[in-house]
């Protein structure tokens, strides 16, 4: 069974740094792209970027480039999302999702449970 288990909720102050994680199991972690998806309170889903753990190739959605860093440690089957300077507007739930691609296109087949990040000013 594929599982993506994310780190727990965080409460931070504006200006602080933060790194959250997503550990995959039940499949070959290195061989599937992992996406990070933001959901601000009461809002929709936004793809921030994706990473291929096999070679750490990262593709950022332009609006998130420079705002966050996506990384992966394939030896630990874990992907990370980090901020160096949090803002109140980063308050959101962040999901990791395993991408699958076939003749039907590219979609997000499995999801982590989400990590709620609250940033106070």
């Amino acid at each position: 069974e594929v599982q993506l288990v994310q780190s727990g909720a965080e409460v931070k102050k504006a200006g602080e740094s933060l790194k959250i994680s997503c550990k995959g199991s039940g499949y070959s972690f290195s061989n599937y792209w992992i996406a990070w998806v933001r959901q601000m309170p009461g809002k929709g889903l936004e793809c921030m970027g994706i990473i291929y753990p096999g070679d750490s190739d990262v593709r950022y959605t332009p609006s998130f480039e420079g705002q966050v860093t996506i990384s992966a440690d394939k030896s630990m089957s874990t992907a990370h999302l980090q901020w160096s300077d949090l803002k109140a507007s980063d308050t959101a739930t962040y999901y990791c999702a395993k991408q699958r691609g076939d003749s039907s296109g590219y979609f997000f087949e499995d999801w982590g449970q989400g990590t709620l990040v609250t940033v106070t000013s």
Binding site: V37, G44, C47, S63, S104, F107, F108, W111
Partner: protein, 112 residues
């Protein structure tokens, strides 16, 4: 950021059929990229509902179906049930500079 537009909400009585539209452009749906659909029950993670042309993951009811034409796609729920009350998102790929994988704005299905 979203380049896929959905109605904020749709509603129907149990047993009825509801349709959720997903309107894109020539850089995403209109460019031939596939559309996929997710269901999110409030407070939980999104769940893949349908991918590509009506492919359903194991356990997803065949009451859910999709269609696609031009720059739009639709999710159809037949025989509406109370358990279908949730938020639904479409997703595709956009080849413009402003986004890669894009989600729709989301639609809340209300079962009356």
């Amino acid at each position: 950021q979203s380049m896929l537009t959905q109605p904020p909400s749709v509603s129907g009585a149990p047993g009825q059929t509801v349709t959720i539209s997903c309107t894109g452009s020539s850089s995403n749906i209109g460019a031939g990229f596939d559309v996929h659909w997710y269901q999110q029950i409030p407070g939980t993670a999104p769940k893949l509902l349908i991918y590509g042309f009506s492919n359903r993951p194991s356990g997803v009811s065949d009451r859910f179906s999709v269609s696609k034409s031009g720059t739009s796609a639709s999710l159809v729920i037949t025989g509406l049930q109370a358990e279908d009350e949730a938020d639904y998102y479409c997703q595709s790929y956009d080849r413009s500079l402003s986004g890669h994988y894009v989600f729709g704005t989301g639609t809340k299905v209300i079962v009356l």
